[in-house]
């Protein structure tokens, strides 16, 4: 029964794979960004579950408490959360600009429009 101690890692792996599937299989840009957010949050859960110590409390020094949870992953994840929202904001800004430039945020439509413009450009150059 040694696997019973590892269930938190398996939950994290399942969440990560859900996020990865959303990024790969969906064409809508907003859904891809949501999938990335799910992936990021699952990585945070991974780190914080590693930091937990049985019988420990929050790492704030108090009288009468001897066992604390590990504060180092908390610091790393604090940084990671704020960086995550910065990249999400940039991704959303890019999606808005793409919509204005191409008229749609589906990956297939954008690729079709790009190929169409490339074909037109090469035809113009041959014509000159």
């Amino acid at each position: 029964m040694m696997f019973m101690g590892l269930y938190n890692y398996w939950i994290v792996v399942v969440l990560m794979m859900i996020g990865l599937y959303i990024v790969i299989a969906h064409g809508n840009l907003i859904k891809k960004i949501v999938g990335l957010t799910i992936f990021q949050t699952s990585v945070f859960i991974f780190y914080i579950s590693i930091a937990k110590v049985d019988g420990g409390t929050a790492p704030i020094l108090e009288d009468g408490v001897s066992q604390y949870s590990n504060p180092l992953p908390h610091v790393l994840i604090l940084t990671a959360i704020v960086v995550g929202i910065a990249t999400t904001a940039l991704g959303l800004a890019l999606a808005v600009r793409l919509k204005e430039a191409y008229g749609s945020i589906e990956e297939k439509h954008i690729q079709d429009l790009d190929n169409h413009t490339l074909e037109n450009q090469s035809k113009d150059e041959q014509g000159c």
Partner: protein
Amino acid sequence: MKDLVAVVMLAGIYSLLSASFFVVMDAADVAFTEASVGAGISTLLMLVAITMTGRSEHLVRHKPMLALVVVTIIGGLLIYGTLDMPHFGAVDSPIHGYVAPRYINDSMQEVGVINIVTSVLASYRAFDTFGEVVVIFTAGIGVLVLLSVERRPEDDAEIDSLNKAMHEQQLILRIATKMLIPFILLFALYVQFHGDFGPGGGFQAGVIFASAIILYAMLFGLSTARRVINQSFIQLVAAIGVLLFGSTGLVSLLNGGNFLDYNVLFVDPIAGQHLGIFLIEWGVGCTVASVIVLIFFNFAGRRENYKRKKHRETK
């Protein structure tokens, strides 16, 4: 599901659930940040982006079976990799053995702050925090480059008259917001200064401060909010935050210590640590608050431009 608003709401609920999970895992600071950032600002920004890019998804899913196979293979490999890892909550796992006891035992003598996460974030690993503040600042600049719209005075007058007409409709919300915003700002200041003694610190305070200003901008109109807080002033505050952080490090260098070594900032090392942590938390709070407000103002300004173009096209 095709409705993107439902997708964004579910993502917000997911963030809130993970924040409550962090509380159970004894990570108070992280739960605070995740709840305010993930469930608050992230959901808001996604909703504003959706109003511009369209509310539903056109179902053009390409090759779901291939994606499923790839994901299953990677998931299987990862689970195989976790079989060697220490059990959940084990006291003797390797990460609890080397660096963490030094931080837990020596934090009081070396830094003098009872919140160990703040002492690690602001003193032992201050360089990482500096990099993170610069990353947030860069994201703010990126959004400015992508989304800023030039404002003309005749558009402002048009929006102003629209806002005044809406005042009757939104009376309850406006009065309630006017009563609430001072308390939200006060709470942000409390969290900023209380980071030494409990969960809190620069990031959470910056996000709460920004959310107060965003609440005002959402209810009273973007042009009114821009008149209350000028956009160039916010950009200045963002830059000042990063400069404050960097110059604390430079002053430490000039005083003979390492970069961001607070012991040399003052005669007494512990007082120097307190002063250093105070200054850089101010820098972090300023930059985070102003960048989030900047991002929201630019998104909302773009949206007003978009709606005005559509309005003119349909006329």
